[in-house]
Symmetry: C2
Subunit: 86 residues, 2 copies
Amino acid sequence: MSEQQKNRISVDIYGQTYTMVGTESTTHMRLVASTVDDTMREIKQANPSLDSAKLAVLTALNAVNDRLKLKEQLELLEEELKKLKD
Amino acid sequence: MSEQQKNRISVDIYGQTYTMVGTESTTHMRLVASTVDDTMREIKQANPSLDSAKLAVLTALNAVNDRLKLKEQLELLEEELKKLKD
């Protein structure tokens, strides 16, 4: 079995360049990067005194919060689907 | 209808104190904070030269990536569930 192809792109997030490597499509990776960049800029507008480390931590907190809630929703739906199929 | 109760807690993430406010339980909020803290420390171990802003951006990228993928999975399951119920 050959290794899954990895994509590598450069993205700009809040004035810094990052190299992203992943098996996802470059379109998906660019969407991820622009979401992080947009969220940092939105939080900055509401809280002009925050430095980039804090903006990034708050962005990470939002995303992890959403991820955990989606994970819970997904588990409930999987449970419901399982019941319907049984 | 009364406003949904908001919880407010202080959390420590990578040596900085943050105030989190949300309608989620404090247990959920602490789990979110410790996930971000743990992820930043894991990335630091693998990349000792990164500063805290970059560690937080990489943590945010991971979380947003997972969130988008979970969202797609959720939409597929909702579609499947809808078909089974029709």
